[in-house]
Symmetry: C2
Subunit: 671 residues, 2 copies
């Protein structure tokens, strides 16, 4: 029988959070995509559960964030428990979980399977892409000669249909309990990928197919098969700290069981993460040696040993449960892949290129952020809108974040696994004040909002050398040589819009119907670049005249709006021009503004959803967008926002030539 | 062939908004229900579109309000247009649409079919009830001797399966346009129910079935068949004012096309109602006579004549469209059914008992409110929890609202159809100042929030005679004889909680995890009565002692909590006790409060979702619930809230005996 051969734009290996998020872009931007997973069904229990502020913003840009937000358990406050002088735990402090004002959303928890269901629902709504389960790649090669040809399908990948032999339920190793056990997927277990493949090959009814793809993305987890094919190796360190995880409905008189708790006790540390539906996840530190002094192996870990450890830590409070949903254990380590891609044709994302401890609730988040970064770039290149060089920014940006993540996790998890300091001279013990400080700073990182990409072709930071950036995580602003200003404090930077960071959100009103919107609600993930035009006080004649000049420059045939969109029916599918002025709403008439700000259609008339105003709403207060962004209403400014909501460039309305140059550097002129 | 006979608890005739809403209660409370509709499919275009604040609150209590709210077009501001001295229209004023602070939701518009889809989705989630289309009742009889027997099925209804002959698309009478035409369902068209039935009877393949039901509810619209069976007649008046309706995507330079507009022009009146997906609904006054002076008949009305009328009214602005979704015309009239029910066994709801003009956006809302009122009562009686006498309150309460509705509509629609006054001496013309005032007051009524039921067995107003109530729509408060107080202003009433009105909503925090909730979010429609226990400042020892006494009284075997719930596993499925205290959150320990306030379960431990606090939140401000409700924190109070969120009773925590008496009057002691 001839081997089946098929062609596809993108092949995604692995249907976890990273793979599903990548699918959302492919579905929305109409890219021919297949996604395969060696498992036979979706995740039903356990795995990740933490959802960070930035992840909610991303999910909201897909229209599914609000539902997930309502279903999730919200974590508002963290409570610290420490041993008192007699060794019993007592509540020693409490802090807010997510800093107020950072985002519309705060840290929350919800089972990974539900998130994946929502992502799959979105993909189904926009495409016919479906996860192909029980399909596993067995060989991958890149035709390097063709890698530079945009029309080629240079990646060949043979996939094998696995044969489902018996229910995939993993028997519990300890006493036959039916509680799902995550150990077999944890880093305490060996990689069984090759065995699976070998046994599939020996099965006669297993078939193969050759897939020729333009791009392959490995989202296949910590034991990534794709990673091995491109010779990327995980670099970093592994510790001996072992932690167990229990998903249970607690029966307890511990008073803070519905708060996120960091507990240090004489018997070890524990983290309490309240979940949806009465569940609570416990991260429990396990003694690394057994009673005879031997290092524990994974067969000695069970729900019973974890429960006993939790009871000791929580003592004198009582603790038991009747419902356990999942359990696992893992060894703490922080590692990053040596390569994130090969030949700009094969990419790695998620756990396939970074592993770390799960306690900061980052796993599912950073993985989804990886492919949220990659997806629109891949789609734009495949559509012929952008040069393949754009794809280099994926490696640059996400390696930076992976490195920041493991640096953070290294510090965070060691603090957490250490024993409390006994007194000020006890240098090996962890000073609890330090712990709380690190925890507080860690939460800002963990929110995902602090991400600030270093300069690259789509992150243009004026006057800032890349070297200066690299040496220092803190953001430095250097004034531009021409000394022009658009910020209310007179500097050429905005107090609350960072180039390289995601665009913050404040409420503004639609000029045409007075409806309030959070700015981010106007930035759905559809592949369009946004030109946010802060037009200032347009009742001022001089300012209105500047606005008209800006509109004319955009309307010229040489403008980026026209130059890169000749092949599409309507420039607004590639670039969306959103105006936000600061004059009183009731004094402004939409139709008195230049046409390009509210484009005309012969079929639908004027567009009433492009001009907004920073004004008081009837029912939801005043967003004070100009004030909060730090924009001077007498000047205004222009902000270029990427399809993934990150800020590329900030300039003045006279800088259209600079904007043309910006887009010209990576967008193809469609002629 | 023997006629098929089946038994059912509730038979619903008609699957419009009233029928669907009734199904939600039946589904949620587990009542055996069938719902039939003579149409062959659901509404695809046209019909109602206005959603009022109270309707959103109700939809939110089903968990579907937020999705609908996001899909809907929000109407924030009303703009008034009037003729200037030269006869051209000009913008003469603007007011807020829904008064700020009234509700979490404001008036919005969304196609009726989408609302019905959401309701059907809810019903499907909770039951296997499905609309049976093409099924039409042909006879109904009540066995009056059995009507008083709770175990009987005294209503016999024969239903006939209609035969679908051809696509039900109604041809447009004017030029064969394919635009759906609502005229055939408007009050300008004759009732064709009998013809449909007759032709079905003549078709040999049409079959019948006898349904024996405990209850039948007629939600079968303005031409209600059920209404005729119980001898209820529509009483009221019909006018000669004819209005047309166009659902279009406007192409226009009229500047306020995305605002709700009330336009009076020399050429007639028009109302602009912006809709979702770029659509706008226009209500257009039609000249009642044709060019020869003859009164118009419905065959002279078409999209073309409506468009021409709209163009004249909007002149000098341009108006056209390329997309029309639906159109209709209707004659204004206000009528109420002479009977709302028969033998407490057959009930009427929605358009079947009240008709009015659609311009105030009330139709779909009041209809859904009717069955939202009826549903939980019917289910409670069928479950054996409550005496059938409870059902009398449906007639009392909803007839009151129907009457208020048509009184409002009478005034509103005549003002709207009149011509503008030319000067102050022109007594027949409508004074535009008066119009705007009525409009503003009308909006409060139209929001649905102003509903205040008169005293009855489940609306206990202290010291207020029914006569005084009936004579005056305004609410009067009379102090109780014993002079006790629980309000912060010293009176025995609460400034913002009206007995007989729906419980207003303010934000409070969960004591156990600091998550903010709007009070109404804690009152989902599941059939439970809520005891809202405003415990006050429980850090005060005297107050805490009162709280403990209250808890003991509730825990006694003679308490309503225990007396009426012996048959159910857990009293909290019938009564939910929600505590809201006003002490600082971080100073209170949940487990130090009486157990009954956070009930214990051997399976799940303590209940962490019953005790709340009026305190500052981290991210959503301070709800100031005590202040906004007007409750004195040093006293506290108790509010009994019905399963439909209306307030039955307000008292002090010493009044448990009064609460026992209240529930004893209509709840059956389950022994």
């Amino acid at each position: 029988m001839a081997k089946k051969v098929s062609k596809i734009d993108v092949l995604i290996v692995g249907a976890g959070p990273a793979g599903h998020m990548l699918c959302t872009w492919m579905a929305r931007m109409g890219i021919k995509t297949r996604i395969v997973d060696k498992r036979f069904d979706r995740v039903n229990s356990g795995q990740a559960d933490g959802l960070q502020s930035r992840t909610f913003e991303i999910l909201d840009s897909l229209g599914i964030g609000q539902d997930i937000w309502r279903q999730a358990n919200h974590m508002l406050e963290i409570r610290f428990w420490n041993p008192d002088e007699r060794g019993a735990i007592h509540r020693s402090g409490m802090i807010v979980d997510t800093s107020p004002g950072l985002s519309r959303f705060q840290q929350a928890t919800l089972h990974q399977g539900i998130i994946e269901d929502h992502l799959m629902g979105y993909v189904k709504q926009h495409s016919d892409i479906q996860v192909e389960y029980g399909l596993m790649p067995e060989s991958l090669s890149i035709d390097t000669e063709q890698a530079g040809n945009p029309d080629a399908y240079p990646v060949s990948c043979t996939v094998r249909q696995l044969v489902k032999e018996k229910p995939s339920d993993q028997p519990n190793e300890h006493g036959g309990s039916s509680v799902p056990n995550g150990l077999y997927r944890s880093n305490l277990a060996a990689d069984t990928t090759d065995q699976m493949l070998q046994s599939a090959k020996e099965n006669e009814s297993s078939s193969t197919e050759e897939i020729l793809a333009k791009y392959v993305v490995g989202c296949d987890g910590a034991h990534s098969w794709t990673r091995r094919q491109i010779g990327s190796v995980m670099e970093g360190e592994q510790t001996d700290f072992i932690w167990g995880v229990l998903d249970i409905i607690p029966i307890t008189n511990f008073p803070d069981i519905r708060y996120r708790c960091a507990i240090h006790s004489a018997a070890g540390s524990m983290m309490v993460i309240p979940r949806e539906n009465k569940y609570v996840r416990l991260y429990i530190q396990i003694t690394q040696t057994d009673e005879s002094g031997k290092v524990l192996d994974r067969h000695q870990i069970s729900p019973k040993t974890l429960t006993q450890a939790a009871q000791k830590i929580l003592s004198p409070y009582k603790f038991s449960f009747k419902h356990c949903h999942w359990w696992t254990a893992y060894r703490i380590g922080q590692r990053v892949g040596s390569k994130f891609s090969a030949n700009r044709r094969v990419f790695l994302a998620g756990d396939a290129v970074h592993t770390h401890s799960p306690k900061a609730g980052q796993g599912m988040n950073i993985s989804m952020h990886d492919t949220f970064n990659l997806g629109w770039k891949l789609a734009s290149v495949i559509q012929g809108r952008c040069s393949p060089s754009l794809l280099e920014t994926y490696d640059l940006e996400r390696r930076q974040i992976a490195q920041e993540l493991i640096d953070f996790d290294h510090q965070f998890s060691r603090l957490f696994s250490g024993r409390p300091a006994q007194d000020i001279l006890d240098k090996e013990g962890i000073d609890l004040k330090t712990f709380q400080d690190v925890f507080e700073k860690g939460n800002l990182f963990a929110s995902g909002i602090a991400v600030n990409y270093r300069p690259n072709m789509i992150v243009i930071k004026p006057g800032k050398s890349e070297a200066a950036e690299k040496g220092n995580g803190a953001v430095q602003h250097v004034e531009d040589a021409n000394g022009s200003t658009y910020a209310s404090d007179g500097g050429k930077r905005l107090s609350n819009i960072e180039i390289g960071s995601r665009m913050p959100s404040h409420k503004i009103l639609n000029q045409s119907d007075a409806r309030p919107w959070h700015l981010q609600e106007l930035l759905p993930s559809n592949g369009a670049w946004r030109i946010l035009f802060f037009a200032g006080n347009i009742l001022d004649e001089a300012q209105l005249s500047r606005v008209k000049t800006f509109a004319e420059a955009l309307d010229a045939p040489s403008s980026f709006l026209k130059k890169h969109t000749k092949l599409v029916e309507n420039w607004s599918s590639v670039f969306e021009l959103i105006t936000i002025h600061s004059a009183p709403r009731v004094k402004v008439e939409l139709l008195s503004l230049p046409d390009i700000l509210h484009p005309w259609s012969d079929e639908f008339g004027w567009d009433y959803n492009k001009v907004f105003v920073d004004d008081m709403s009837y029912h939801e207060g005043h967003g004070q967008a100009y004030k909060n962004y730090g924009i001077d209403a007498s000047k205004g400014c222009v902000v270029i926002v990427r399809p993934d909501q990150y800020v590329s460039w900030i300039g003045e309305m006279e800088d259209v030539e600079e904007m043309n140059k910006f887009f010209g550097a990576f967008m193809l002129a469609s002629s």
